[in-house]
């Protein structure tokens, strides 16, 4: 049976070149970068090389890159670290309602500690209006955090425009670019951001290594204390093999992004168009064009996401869903709800994220396989039955 992995937004396989680069650092070159002897220096050099490569991917300086363990840690570090280190200026934070929980939850913690928060609402396509961000900023605002691309619906935000506003108003600006780095060009200077989160396993690097870019001169309060690593900003012995892997993934991505975009965009559109031609009552979530080149998020009305996901799994197709049933909290996606998707439709959501290993044949296999699954589940669905009866009577 064909296996089609369409969940690259969850994680990507490590690139063979990444694995190869990492291998020596597990047991041969195992030194601790903090040590002064040759083994330590060897590891330190590897970490610094990875830092330079990671910086180069986003147009930053090496000393502006701080390695962390995950995108979640980078976002926590950015939000708490920037707000706490700059609280003499004020106590107000601006975010969007569609941020990842690794931004929203630390913001909630800060709110409990006395910060005030304004959460800007995106429009129906998941776009944040820069004007709304401008209006939300007060004299008390210390930090704006708006994601570059949404991890669920794939909408790319007008970060450059927001960056101009924050610069003009003298407010720090963080963007969570975990979903976008490695897939679209990301340049910290043109985006006008003061901090940016990225994560290696999202773009063919290993799990366990991520980074936070913090513009030189911007103060940030460490969240992991008790170590001199990462210039004292993030304690803990470095995950050297994973950091080396992240550096390699960044190096590969820097050269490959135009190719990735031109390969994936038509493939993404082939998947969407193919499904649209074969399935009625399907809605695209997010923006039709201002979206990640590899992301398709659709709601299939009258059916539930987990059921589709299980049937697709039986056919070797691996995807994600925004349904309440697939989440541990049993709540459907906060992203879909803030763009106004009704809860029933949100429960029928499939998120399909393509990768460089995805072929046109894979996409066609999904286009062949999904419609009969949807039809079968609709025939079983009381909501579909009611809809048909309503259509007949009206």
């Amino acid at each position: 049976m064909r296996k089609v992995y369409l969940d690259h937004g969850a994680t990507t396989p490590a690139h063979p070149g990444v694995v190869e680069a990492m291998m020596p650092y597990f047991s041969g070159k195992f030194g601790n970068p903090s040590n002064l002897h040759d083994l330590g220096r060897e590891a330190k050099n590897a970490v610094e090389e990875a830092r330079a490569k990671t910086a180069a991917l986003i147009g930053a300086k090496a000393e502006e890159i701080f390695f962390t363990s995950s995108g979640t840690e980078s976002n926590n570090f950015a939000v708490k670290g920037l707000a706490q280190a700059n609280s003499q200026k004020g106590n107000h934070i601006v975010v969007s309602q569609m941020e990842h929980f690794s931004v929203l939850h630390p913001v909630k913690t800060l709110e409990k500690a006395g910060f005030k928060v304004t959460a800007v609402v995106p429009d129906k396509q998941g776009l944040i209006d820069p004007g709304a961000v401008a209006r939300a900023i007060t004299r008390e605002t210390v930090l704006v955090s708006i994601m570059h691309a949404n991890n669920e619906i794939g909408t790319l935000q007008p970060i450059e425009e927001i960056g101009k506003i924050t610069k003009e108003k003298g407010v720090l600006f963080h963007t969570d670019a975990v979903a976008s780095v490695g897939w679209v060009p990301v340049d910290v200077a043109s985006l006008g951001v003061d901090a940016l989160s990225l994560s290696g396993h999202q773009f063919y690097g290993p799990k366990g290594a991520a980074a936070l870019f913090v513009r030189k001169g911007v103060r940030i309060k460490p969240q992991i204390e008790g170590g001199v690593q990462e210039d004292g900003r993030r304690g803990g012995t470095e995950n050297v093999p994973a950091i080396v892997g992240l550096g390699k993934a960044a190096e590969i991505a820097a050269a490959d992004i135009p190719n990735r975009m031109s390969y994936l965009t038509p493939l993404r559109d082939r998947l969407l168009t193919g499904l649209r031609d074969r399935v009625a009552d399907m809605v695209l979530n997010g923006h039709p064009t201002l979206r990640l080149p590899h992301s398709v998020n659709v709601s299939l009305l009258f059916v539930e996401g987990e059921s589709m996901l299980l049937f697709l799994n039986m056919q070797g197709i691996y995807v994600s869903s925004g349904s309440a049933c697939t989440s541990r909290s049993l709540k459907s996606s906060h992203v879909l709800s803030c763009i106004g998707t009704d809860a029933a439709a949100a429960n029928g959501t499939l998120l399909m994220t393509l990768g460089m290993g995805t072929t046109a044949e894979d996409v066609d296999y999904v286009i062949e396989t999904l419609p009969p699954i949807v039809q079968r589940l609709r025939e079983m669905s009381p909501l579909y039955e009611d809809m048909i009866k309503n259509r007949q009577t009206t």
């Binding site: 009258f302 059916v303 539930e304 996401g305 987990e306 059921s307 996901l309 299980l310 049937f311 799994n313 039986m314 349904s323 309440a324 049933c325 697939t326 541990r328 049993l330 459907s332 809860a343 029933a344 429960n347 025939e379 079983m380 669905s381 009381p382 909501l383 579909y384 039955e385």
Partner: protein
């Protein structure tokens, strides 16, 4: 992926008793699309015995499997016996359910109770 028992996967992949019953003696719809599960259960009753049961469900794997199982369990039972079918019995017959999915078995029990309730109401009307 949720860890479902093989029995759950069996009933999910090939659910029994899917469909509607024309002129059913009792129909019960429970749940809410917002929560992700809606079950509709149809029963046919002759001489106080449930002779047929069918369902339609919008929901996850567990919701479909519990619907399939409860319709299996109820067939051939008297009304009194059917009233005693609990959510625990449905879950047990499926070889257990993941903790977060136990509410699906509750929904299956409620759908059955709702269909029986409807049967009583319809019968009361007829006898009036």
């Amino acid at each position: 992926m949720e860890q479902y028992s093989s029995k759950v996967m069996e009933h999910f992949a090939q659910p029994h008793n899917v469909g509607e019953i024309e002129n059913a003696d009792g129909v019960g719809t429970v749940g809410n699309p917002v929560c992700g599960d809606v079950m509709r259960l149809y029963i046919k009753v002759e001489n106080n015995v449930i002779t047929d049961a069918k369902f339609k469900t919008f929901g996850c794997g567990a919701a479909i499997a519990t619907s399939s199982m409860v319709t299996d369990l109820v067939k051939g039972k008297t009304i009194d016996e059917a009233l005693k079918i609990s959510n625990a019995a449905v879950a047990e017959a499926l070889g257990g359910l993941p903790k977060v999915k136990m509410h699906c078995s509750v929904l299956a029990e409620e759908a059955l109770k709702s269909a029986l309730d409807d049967y009583y109401k319809k019968r009361a009307c007829r006898h009036r």
